[in-house]
Symmetry: C2
């Protein structure tokens, strides 16, 4: 049983003076989600944000921007094209499209190159590959248009592979409860005062959207043995005041390898004697962000899995 | 510019009493090579073996067995099907099919699963995946039939990724000579008394077949920056008397990561303080071999490449 936990991701900011994105309403965003071949499960809102929990990951909509992550075999590039068509390219101030390190990219409906070709048929796009193709790597595409992010506009991603230990075992088990998962992940400590909207999938798998004022965080857990993946994304500064969240999640989920991605920040990874930064790179983008990608490995000297096909 | 250096590989042994494989002659083996969409460049023979140098890697034919490696976008599974059809499945004592860690498996004509399905339509096949899909891994398929290899029947593979340093730079340059490459690789030291047949590709890339009595070795160099790959395969014991070859090649080619694969042997990798065995596994096969796979990494703490697409 294989499920690609690794997400594709789009982020889009509209030009000042555009109608608020939230005012486009549920039917519009439902159409955007459908374009990726996903569904809306439920919604959590506060004064600033509508946070949609999806059958495959999450959509966050603020008045001036939106953020959509979709895992599995979703076709997120089609959501991007729909947004471009509806908003008009002149009204887009910033747009980015990411593909993270995938376990089996050959099983996706489209390759990165095909996604890039589709986007370039509508928008001027700059595209980067960070890291080596035979090791963890990251693809970042962005609208080739000058943009100046606000000083506090940062994004941090922590992407964990091959989770191990008691929490990982529990997340693979068949008798989970949402309460127990929240307790295992210590959500009350890492995301205090956040409102949570979470979902437990069958037979396993867990997603949570969390919002607190203008802050957001989202966690998605794909627990399958041999292809487990847990992502954490937030606009909290994981390279500064909130670095303890990385430490906490690494201690709980014990990944064999993990990546960090930062936009205008550098998530901090605490390292032990058997945990190593395998490689890193930093790419200044013409759209005003500095992109930071790092790949880490736990050197376990343990037996690798052998799987009969 | 991308070229997949990583090879697919078949090895086949015929039952005692079958006509010698070498007697099938050049036209037959030409057809086998064509089935993989490759060409024969030249041939080197001795008392035991015909060693064909191919446009994409190598074919070795002995009277009782053959070994074929093909890189790039070749369709080696079709050569396997042609061999099965010509020889008849009852006459095959042993058959294996490997796919090594590929940079961009999504660019191949067929996936591992499609190759497996094709082979299973003709032969009972057991199949294994060794290692994690998001890190270096190896696929081994074999005929599900009892077989007892001779005691000295071993195979060692050393597969090097991201070669660096002066030799790697030279191998990427545009004014190479065969003599200089032989000298750089110290072929006179690592393969003394072997007869060599080598080829320098345009604009770069190098292949050599080497035979000495019943011993063989083959080296294939794909030097492209960001996707470089060098393979060394031999029936010399790289875990015993010939372990110095591994040390020599690692010192010359300075790969950022490398794998070893052994059939009834365990190639030895010398490790420094910044070179690590990331993982290993050993799989006993019902066809009489013990398969050993290990993945190594040079922890460089250097900047990863960023590539504009």
């Amino acid at each position: 049983m294989f499920f690609e936990g690794s997400e594709k991701k789009i982020e889009l900011v509209v030009e000042a003076g555009c109608p608020p994105l939230r005012s486009l309403g549920y039917p519009f965003w439902h159409k955007v989600v459908k374009a990726a071949e996903a569904d809306i499960l439920s919604t959590l809102s506060n004064q600033y944000c509508d946070a949609y929990l999806l059958s495959e990951s999450s959509l966050f909509v603020w008045d001036d921007r939106c953020l959509m992550l979709t895992c599995g075999n979703t076709t997120l590039v089609n959501s991007a094209l729909l947004l471009e068509e509806h908003l008009g390219s002149d009204n887009i101030a910033f747009f980015s499209y990411q593909r993270k390190n995938e376990y089996q990219s050959q099983l996706q409906h489209t390759s990165l190159q095909q996604d890039l070709d589709k986007l370039r048929s509508k928008l001027p796009i700059k595209a980067y590959q960070l890291g080596y193709l035979d090791s963890h790597h990251h693809f970042l595409l962005h609208l080739d248009k000058p943009y100046t992010p606000a000083k506090n506009d940062i994004t941090c991603e922590l992407l964990m592979y091959h989770t191990q230990g008691p929490a990982a075992d529990y997340l693979r088990s068949t008798h989970q409860t949402i309460e127990q998962i929240r307790a295992l992940l210590k959500l009350d400590i890492i995301l205090p005062d956040f409102e949570l909207n979470d979902f437990l999938f069958e037979p396993f798998g867990y997603s949570v959207n969390a919002i607190r004022g203008k802050d957001y965080a989202t966690i998605h857990i794909t627990p399958e043995q041999h292809s487990s993946y847990v992502s954490f994304e937030t606009n909290l500064n994981l390279g500064g005041a909130h670095a303890y969240i990385v430490k906490q999640l690494l201690a709980i989920l014990q990944p064999a390898s993990w990546d960090t991605v930062g936009f205008n920040c550098q998530p901090f990874s605490p390292l032990s004697a058997v945990q190593f930064e395998v490689g890193k790179c930093t790419q200044p983008l013409d759209c005003g962000y500095i992109l930071d990608f790092r790949h880490y490995q736990h050197l376990q000297k343990t037996t690798l899995p052998t799987k009969q096909l």
